[in-house]
Subunit: 173 residues, 2 copies
Amino acid sequence: MKFQIEEAIEILSQTPVVVKSLLENLSDDWIKSESNAESWSAFDIVGHLIHGEETDWIPRAELILAQGENTTFEPFDRFAQFEKSKGKTLNELIENFAASRAKSLRKLREMNLTEEKLQLKGIHPELGEVTIEQLLATWTVHDLGHIKQLVTVLARKYAENVGAWKQYLSILQ
Amino acid sequence: MKFQIEEAIEILSQTPVVVKSLLENLSDDWIKSESNAESWSAFDIVGHLIHGEETDWIPRAELILAQGENTTFEPFDRFAQFEKSKGKTLNELIENFAASRAKSLRKLREMNLTEEKLQLKGIHPELGEVTIEQLLATWTVHDLGHIKQLVTVLARKYAENVGAWKQYLSILQ
């Protein structure tokens, strides 16, 4: 599939709606979990999405566009949400994520990224040269990956309740 | 997590909303795919969810509650949607699924399932004895599994566009 910004935005703009639809009416039994670095809760996942808006996707695209002497990205802290989300409710995080994402997409549109600009490069601290197009495609897939993670975390709550059906349900494997 | 019908319904009632949020605004590029028995398209997945409403979950619960001489379920046809969805648009399927699910949940509430009734058993043609509770938990996990499948199908469209980031994105593995 050829990358087109408008099509990426179709996914990016819906992610907060999908996350909200999935989580906002759930009882604590679904949401509460022993969250830790290996096994994130819904709360951790939404916090991580917010942190990405603030420090990863748009800031990196801006850095590449600036094309200064140093286009090496700051490493992204995958665990910042454990500190930053403290004291917030899940519904507050969901609202914050929606607001941050809307702001990111406004900035993205203001960049007026042409085909040419999409091929500008930055340096990822581990991966080396990457383009703005790859960054935006990754942002999109990253969203979908965390929706996958959210539904997997929820499904596991019923891992034992399904009885013998467990073997048919790949999400529980 | 102890099974409680009201909590299962929290997920079951939101699935059509999640599916709609995820799919309804997407361009054809995201949706179109070579669908076949091994690799389902978004269209196939929503068709499969509708078929489950019509022939699997509530009909099986009704069969168990009737407790007649034969409580063995009809085998569920996992590929019926290839025939049944022909000629429909994805948005039609999404609307049909929402309507079927609403009807299923009305029937579920009308069953007034007590703790005792939840333990009534039916015979699965392959798995043997299963309870209504296990059936309802499976229905819930089955929903989440197909949301996972939908986001995975979408993410794969950008499998090459992400460049070197691919190795970080488990949804693409």
